[in-house]
């Protein structure tokens, strides 16, 4: 797959311009999405693509620019074989929202690490993964998940641990991302299975997907 043009998605025109400059310095053509409103994700994806890859920021909603966030967009791109990079800071609240989609977000770069080299390497990584070569840190394995506490009030998250990944760090999963049967059964001591990238080096990079409860 040959990439020449990279679509740039951010709700701030200044940020779009900044990202575009980095893409240009990577000897690629930047295609900033300068429309005021991108609409819903379905509406946006229905548009004819003007590039061969994309770069999106996470927060797109506050200004009314888009009815979806960058993680939703990049993961949907992945499913249509379109390489995409998500650019965001690793903030706790973001990580919990990204985690259920992370399996389909091959490359996440923080703004301070976004530069011409990281963009080129990131796009190469996306293409490799889309063609079936998945790095050990991203490979999904079926693994047991232990629930450590009940749903936490307004926060709406459960604390879980993955013994196969490591017990030093517990991670948070949002109740709204769990299948109904698991959400209802979840209580301290509850165990089920899910697919996770057990090779992930940091909890921020862990994804949890395909939840299963044995009948």
């Amino acid at each position: 797959m040959q990439i020449q043009r990279v679509q740039v998605i951010d709700d701030d025109p200044g940020v779009r311009e900044t990202y575009s400059d980095k893409i240009i310095d990577a000897n690629l053509i930047a295609v900033p999405e300068d429309d005021e409103m991108l609409g819903t994700i379905e509406e946006f994806l229905a548009r004819r693509p003007r590039a061969e890859a994309g770069l999106s920021d996470f927060d797109l909603k506050p200004s009314g620019y888009a009815g979806f966030n960058g993680a939703e967009l990049v993961s949907r791109w992945y499913k249509t074989n379109f390489p995409g990079i998500l650019c965001t800071r690793y903030e706790k609240v973001h990580i919990e929202r990204i985690r259920p989609l992370r399996r389909h977000i091959p490359v996440l770069i923080t703004p301070d690490k976004l530069n011409p080299d990281s963009i080129v390497l990131g796009l190469e990584e996306c293409i490799r993964e889309l063609s079936g070569t998945i790095r050990p840190v991203r490979r999904a394995w079926r693994t047991q998940v232990h629930f450590l506490d009940d749903e936490v009030g307004s926060n709406g998250t459960f604390t879980v641990e993955l013994p196969a990944w490591g017990l030093e760090e517990a991670i948070r999963v949002r109740a709204s991302d769990l299948p109904r049967s698991i959400k209802k059964s979840a209580q301290p001591g509850f165990r089920c299975h899910a697919f996770a990238n057990l090779g992930a080096e940091a909890s921020e990079d862990l994804f949890l997907d395909e939840w299963v409860v044995e009948g």
């Binding site: 701030d12 200044g14 209802k184």
Partner: protein
């Protein structure tokens, strides 16, 4: 060709009987349920345990009895219930429909089980004797035949008697108590029914318990919740002790989810009576607090009645299937607990949407059960919200009333002074009261200001948190991104000249943006929800995390920081937010104090010392020290020497340290030159 059958070894009887249903009381209860299904009105359970000789249990009822055919093809068949829940009995009862496994457990409690039954309108009596020792000697279950004998019996009498003799183990007092409670609660004892089922256990405990349960204290309840579920739609009311409606709601108000979907559960009525167990409310009542507590200890909890019979374990001691106690921990004033309430969920489930587990340990937890549970929990949540709203309205009213009462009391005192005849005394009283009134007014004003200050600070915090990203996020991202691009292009296009012309200014911008970003990050980090959860807090980790957040501020203000941390992970029981508040307020104070140090040697020393069961934090700077204010007053709210200060930082520190069970002290000038604060908190033992 040869063929065979699946056959069962006699050991299967043990697996299916005593191992699957290990509770003796649960097994006997299954025999009692058989009596209910046979339309019995009376059912007497007797436990006969003589000091010597054979012990036995008998269950005798006055129900329909069984024919020989029903014994052979029903009673003796395991795993297949002939009872259909959609067909009711002559008395209108829906059969409990068990599979006979609980009965097996009960029959195997002794070495011999004898059945004797007289069918209604018949002169025949049928008896069957099961000698379990024969099964012990046989290899396969079907090798042992059980003979059903028929003889004559007086007409006009019907019923069944089951006697289990030579009990394998004695029945303990606790088991008898459990059985007594289960039998009393089996058919809802609080509803007057025609042809009601009245099972009786012939034991002293039962009589006392039955008497206690018969006391009906429902009128003593503070709140009575009545929630109906009809065709998936909820309709909920809360009544007071007189039966007057306090709050009511329809399905749309009760369901918290946006889609307002129906509860996919059978029709049900959930009622809950909540009692005020505070001693103050019992002075004028006819029942004592002790009586009410005792009654609740027996009947309390939320029971489930499906088609007229209770389903254990819901409502048993320790069973909190609606998570009432957990919810009460979060909101103790507005929530019932299993200790101060009694409830029942009466389910009309003729179509069998709820299925009981084979071991009689409640319903299989499928969609229908979850929907029923959710309906009950949503009803409780809704009730708590209404009560919270009422409490808030009361609070507002009380505040207004207090002001009115205060004014009226003041007028009253002034009037009394006016009535004093002696002019000298009157003058002295007037002067004294005026002085008192001014002092009270000053105190009130000080408190008002403090409350206002807290509100202002909270609003500032909320605003900062809401816009933390937008205020600096994008602007910083653009500055940082453009600086990177300038650097990239500078290096590419200017080569060696880059270092001469652009490197310095770019470094300056980077330093400044790093400092700018800290504010938003620090604000958001303080507000992370996890930090307000009570648990074990790693003190050194929290200290290092706060220092990392402040790093750009230290750099921006040219403060050299000397951190001396004892190796280890001391922990304290509390919240990370409390520990962060302590450290952050000290650092804020020091950074402000160091503004007065113009000698270009600004220094901050932070020591984390691990002692025997304690952790000590010392923070010292080389600012001007504590001046113009006493060491006692620095902890008081609103006391500050700075025009922009709030005077709350050290008050918060003191409160937070006290919450953690520790102590805090200050010295005006330390060896470093400026103020030094010392915090000591007890640590958790590992």
């Amino acid at each position: 060709m040869s063929s065979g059958h699946i056959r069962f070894s006699t050991s299967i009887l043990k697996r299916l009987g005593e191992e699957l249903n290990p509770n003796i009381d649960q097994g006997i209860l299954e025999l009692v349920k058989n009596s209910y299904d046979a339309d019995a009105i009376n059912c007497i359970v007797r436990i006969h345990e003589p000091s010597r000789g054979n012990s036995s249990i008998s269950v005798v009822d006055d129900g329909d009895g069984m024919t020989a055919d029903e014994i052979v093809n029903g009673w003796l068949v395991l795993g297949s219930s002939s009872k259909v829940t959609s067909v009711v009995t002559k008395l209108g009862r829906t059969p409990a429909g068990n599979k006979g496994l609980g009965r097996l457990a009960a029959l195997r409690m002794g070495s011999i089980a004898t059945l004797s039954t007289n069918p209604r309108d018949s002169t025949e009596r049928h008896t069957a004797l099961i000698d379990w020792s024969k099964f012990d000697r046989a290899a396969m279950v079907d090798e042992v035949a059980i003979e059903v004998r028929t003889d004559r019996a007086p007409k006009g009498f019907s019923g069944t008697s089951v006697v289990v003799s030579n009990l394998r183990k004695s029945i303990g007092r606790m088991e008898v108590k459990r059985l007594a409670r289960a039998m009393i609660l089996l058919a809802d004892p609080f509803v007057d029914q025609v042809n009601a089922f009245k099972p009786v256990l012939d034991a002293p405990d039962f009589k006392d318990l039955a008497k206690l349960v018969a006391e009906s204290y429902f009128s003593e309840s503070q709140f009575h919740l009545v929630a109906r579920l009809t065709d998936g739609r909820a309709d909920v009311r809360v009544l007071d002790w007189r039966g007057e409606i306090l709050y009511s709601a329809s399905h749309e108000d009760v369901t918290p989810s946006k889609d307002k979907s129906l509860y996919e559960a059978p029709d049900a009525i959930f009622e809950l009576w909540e009692f005020n167990l505070g001693s103050a409310g019992f002075v004028t009542r006819s029942v004592t607090l002790g009586e009410l507590r005792e009654w609740l200890s027996v009947v309390g909890g939320v029971h489930v009645y499906s088609n007229g019979l209770r389903v254990a374990p819901y409502g048993n001691a320790g069973n909190d299937w609606l998570d009432m106690n957990l919810a009460r921990v979060r909101n103790p004033e507005m929530r019932p607990s299993t200790n101060n309430s009694l409830g029942r969920v009466v389910v009309n489930d003729t179509s069998g949407r709820l299925t009981q587990k084979t071991d009689r340990g409640g319903f299989i937890e499928d969609e229908s059960f979850y929907a029923l549970r959710k309906f009950a929990m949503d009803s409780l949540d809704w009730m708590a919200k209404q009560r919270l709203a009422s409490a808030e309205a009361r609070r507002q009213q009380t505040r207004k009333n207090t002001e009115d009462t205060s004014k009226s009391s003041k007028t009253s005192v002034q009037q009394q002074i006016e009535r004093v005849a002696d002019p000298e005394s009157k003058s002295k009283l007037s002067t004294a009261f005026a002085a008192y009134d001014r002092a009270r007014e000053r105190e009130t004003n000080a408190l008002r200001k403090e409350v206002q200050l807290y509100r202002t600070l909270s609003t500032a915090g909320i605003t900062a948190a809401t816009f933390a990203h937008e205020s600096t996020g994008n602007s910083l991202k653009i500055i940082e991104g453009n600086v990177d691009t300038i650097e990239f292009r500078g290096l590419r296009d200017l080569g060696a000249n880059f270092a001469v012309t652009l490197k310095g200014p770019i470094g300056g911008i980077r330093k400044a943006t790093a400092s700018l970003g800290v504010l938003a990050r620090a604000t958001l980090r303080l507000l992370e929800q996890d930090k307000r959860r009570v648990g074990s807090v790693d003190l050194n980790k929290t200290l290092n995390s706060v220092l990392e957040t402040f790093e750009p501020f230290f750099a921006g203000r040219s403060v050299s920081v000397d951190v001396r941390t004892d190796p280890g992970n001391p922990t304290v029981w509390g919240t990370e937010a409390a520990v962060e508040s302590i450290i952050t307020n000290f650092l804020n104070n020091s950074l402000t104090a160091l503004e007065d140090n113009t000698a270009n040697n600004r220094a901050l020393r932070i020591e984390s010392v691990i002692g025997e069961g304690v952790w000590t934090l010392r923070i010292a700077d080389n600012g001007p020290g504590i001046r113009d204010i006493s060491l006692t007053d620095i902890w008081l709210p609103g006391q500050t020497r700075r025009t922009e200060g709030t005077g709350l930082g050290l008050t918060i520190v003191k409160d937070a340290v006290t919450d953690l069970g520790g102590r805090v002290s200050a010295v005006e000038r330390s060896d470093l030159g400026g103020a030094m604060f010392t915090v000591t908190v007890p640590t958790l033992t590992k």
